[in-house]
Amino acid sequence: MIAQQIINAVSLGGVYALLALGLAIVFSIVGLINFAHGELMTLTGYVLLAALIAGVPFPAAVLLAVICAAVAAVAMERIAFRPMRGASVTSLLLTSFAVSGLLKVIFQNGVSARPQAVAIPSWMTGAFSIGDFTIGVGPTISIVVSILALIALEFFLRRTVTGTAMRAAAEDFDVVRLMGIPANRIIATAFLLSGLLAGLAAMLWVASRASVDPLMGFTPVLKAFIAAVVGGLGSLPGAVAGGFLLGVIEVLLQATLPAAIAPYRDAIVLSGVIAVLLIRPQGLIPAVRVQRS
């Protein structure tokens, strides 16, 4: 039972971490808090649904959906955010807020306002036993995917030229541009990565719920925002730490709170978050940013 709870906690934390990481990558480069990140998740869910209905085999459908999320993220940058390049953080935030609202309306009218069932293969919803423990397949996949994605991202950021340029851009974009690295490529890559991460997170989220609806991305991304702020806005290790922390706390509270207090869980978690920020206003692992006199 305890093992099961821990697995659940880590798997939920992994999803939050992937989402928070996507937000942090974009924020660190362009200073945008992307409210439409949740809609990328929703879109991924619908692509998966459509592909499955069209008879595409499950693994291919998942791949297709995740690729679509990445492409959609890049397209979103091209269409909505590029004209805003250089605008204030507030304008960017509000643009993404409006884009998010618009996409929701499009999903509601273009597909359906009601949740649509997604046929998840039965082996994913099963469980397996190790010794006395019964462990769900879904959460296990979720943990494995999250960890693999984090390792792959770390490898990309450390070992490739573009990755190194992105880490540099997070600290001081102007200098990176002076080094002759095209800004568009860095920004497009940032959105591509955040889209990939949102796509993966969406798959894990859909797998555990077996349905998609127009507001699907709303709640997890809201949590991911909080995770990103707790970790230190714009800090990648902070986003991962914040995501896992939030997931673990949520599941543990869910498991331990008495029934009378359980509905207050989100309020308790978020109050805790604000308490953390009182002690560390820059987050757990603050982002490094240059300052000029």
């Binding site: 953080v89 618009l102 309306v105 920020l277």
Partner: protein
């Protein structure tokens, strides 16, 4: 006749020009609102009256949002939560006791059976909002920028969760019903009128000025003594009170509601209204609400589908939200400052309305501030990850003297100045500014009489030239009127009085540098720190600056410490020169002494040249 004129002019100086202007603006907006309401009351039907009532309630809420977001520049999602809290509190307080017993069986005893009138409930709600605003605001504004925005989002989720979970009090996610519907057109208009006055006047108060300055440039604001946390808290609390008032009216306007009515979509609507009109002014909030309510009223007719112009329209979900989103995107793209720009009506500042009271510039009467000791710096060091920018520096600066700090690029001059200004925390060592002040706090140092300018100019671009200086003057003058007079005086001193009502962003480079100096002098400092004041100025502008600085120093007896690369300026103006290289003081003395110091020559020209010169001297 003469007596009357005197009385009028004295009444003028008691009420600052900024408040007079704001008051007239507010009256104009209220007149427009009342006229619209009157027209609908006389000629409109009940449905139209409801639309105007709704608009007035939304106006109150959006003005609440504007008071906070418009002045501090922090987008808030949390104001929807205050509307929700106001609505539920009013609902519980005004509900008929008999109905309450059936609808809310488990209501705690102290909340039950109040059956208050609307205005009694409103009073309670406003006090409550003030308390909750204070409690939530204090932790919130340790954060800044985007983190603070996300924290307001967290607040919205917390309040929503509480409203849904607190079933005994709120009926959870089920509709809360049975609230008497007593708020009509005129109540809503009256409360909205108060909100207009509050929002329009707030931006001219010292809190409003301080919040706007910090939004434009946080470091610049700290340098003139602005504590941005206090300013933000004040804006947050007043904004929360206005939003809760809107909530109280909303409860009695709707009669029945549920927590999701005050959640994300509502917050979105509020923000869209504000953005469309223009976030930074109360005029923007006013116009935004009018425009969006009209658009939404038109769009709403299409939402249900049906046949329009011979076309079969489908049923569209959330069309109004979609239209608001598109409107918001278009406005941000095409007119980032909103449809009505970023300025107020400013009826009294229209061309022809300003009388341009000539400022007398006789003897510079501005006295130096209360006595205090010298600035002394002891064993001061600052390290940045491996680099030692300032290394064990001990110096004393007397008031009533001009000191130049020179040295090669990267010598640590600006870091030293920043530590003296309280802007950078020393890694070790102490800075004493002659009067007690908490260490390493830029705004407290500024209030203690240490004024400064920056290497990259930090004026407040969206505020007027006059406001830029008033922000600083407000920290030392007893009232806004006195601050305005002092600010006009400093502007005249710097030859900027003709630009007083223009936004600072419109000034030329040299003028902005002078504005920064005027702003620093408005603090009535004991010390003035100038970081490359002549950088980027041509010879004529530099000469002007030198004569102004010399005059200021001789009239006010303040200590000036300046960093400068223009050697002629430094040698002419300064009585003492401190040479810094690689974080250490390598020479300290009169210009003549320093010029002949071999270490200084070495630092500037390289050691081989220095040795060569020394060799020549010996020969």
């Amino acid at each position: 006749m003469a007596v009357m004129t005197m009385e009028r002019s004295s009444a003028r100086s008691i009420l600052p020009a900024a408040f007079r202007n704001a008051g007239v603006d507010a009256l104009a907006m209220i007149a427009a609102l009342v006229l619209a309401a009157l027209a609908i009351y006389l000629f409109g039907n009940a449905a139209m009256q409801r639309v105007v009532t709704y608009a007035a309630i939304m106006l109150t809420a959006v003005l609440g949002l504007q008071i906070f977001s418009g002045n501090t520049g922090i987008v808030s999602f949390g104001h929807a939560a205050f509307v929700g809290l106001g609505a539920y509190a009013t609902g519980i307080l005004t509900m008929p006791a008999a109905l309450q017993r059936t609808a809310l069986r488990d209501l705690p005893q102290f909340l039950a059976g109040h059956e208050m009138s609307f205005f009694a409930a409103l009073t309670v709600v406003l006090v409550l909002a003030m308390l909750i605003g204070l409690i939530t605001g204090m932790p919130l504004f340790r954060l800044s920028g985007s983190s603070a925005s996300i924290a307001t989002l967290a607040l919205l989720i917390i309040v929503y969760t509480l409203l849904v979970a607190g079933r005994e009090i709120t009926r959870g996610s089920q509709p809360f019903y049975g609230v008497p519907r007593e708020v009509g057109l005129w109540t809503a208009v009256a409360v909205a009128a108060l909100a207009i006055v509050a929002a329009r006047l707030f931006r001219e108060t010292s809190f409003g000025l301080a919040a706007r300055a910090a939004a434009d440039d946080e470091r610049g604001a700290a340098a003139v003594g602005v504590d941005h946390r206090v300013a933000r808290l004040a804006a947050w609390v007043l904004g929360a009170v206005a939003a809760a008032a809107a909530g109280a009216m909303m409860a009695q306007f709707l009669g029945a509601f549920s927590p999701k009515d005050f959640y994300f979509d509502f917050g979105f609507t509020m923000l869209a209204m504000l953005i469309v009109g223009g976030m930074t002014s109360s005029l923007g909030a006013f116009a935004g609400v009018v425009v969006t309510v009209l658009v939404v009223e038109v769009v709403r007719r299409f939402e249900g589908g049906g046949v329009i112009l011979g076309l079969q329209m489908p049923v569209l979900f959330g069309l109004t939200q979609g239209v608001l989103a598109v409107a918001m995107i278009l406005v941000i793209w095409r007119r980032p400052t909103g449809l009505f720009g970023d300025h107020e009506l400013n009826l009294l500042r229209r061309p022809g309305m300003t009388k341009g009271n000539p400022v007398k510039l006789a003897a510079d009467a501005a006295p130096a501030r209360a006595e205090g000791g010298p600035i002394s710096v002891e064993k001061l060091s600052r390290r940045y990850a491996g680099v030692v920018a300032v290394d064990d520096v001990t110096l004393t600066f007397q008031p009533d003297s001009i000191t130049g700090i020179i040295g090669p690029n990267g010598a640590g001059k600006t870091t030293l100045l920043n530590m003296i200004a309280g802007d950078v925390t020393p890694s070790s060592g102490t800075v004493s500014v002659g009067v007690p002040a908490r260490p390493a706090s830029a705004f407290r140092f500024a209030r203690a009489g240490i004024a400064r300018t920056f290497q990259n100019i930090r004026v407040f671009p969206r505020m007027t030239v006059l406001e830029n200086v008033v922000v600083a003057a407000r920290e030392v003058e007893p009232g806004l009127a006195a601050a305005e007079a002092a600010a006009r005086h400093e502007l005249a001193r710097m030859g900027l009085e003709a630009f007083a009502d223009r936004p600072a962003a419109s000034l030329a480079y040299g003028q902005r540098r002078r504005l920064e100096v005027a702003r620093a002098l408005a603090l009535k400092p004991r010390f003035l720190l100038l970081d490359e004041p002549a950088a980027g100025m041509n010879a004529v502008e530099t000469a002007e600056l030198v004569s102004i600085l010399a005059a200021v120093r001789s009239e006010r007896h303040i200590g000036v410490i300046l960093i400068e690369h223009d050697m002629r300026l430094v040698m002419n103006l300064c009585e003492r020169i401190v040479v810094v290289d690689r974080g250490r003081v390598i020479a300290d003395g009169t210009p003549a002494e320093v010029q002949n110091n071999p270490a200084v020559v070495a630092a500037y020209l390289g050691s081989r040249t220095a040795r060569a010169r020394q060799g020549n001297d010996v020969q």
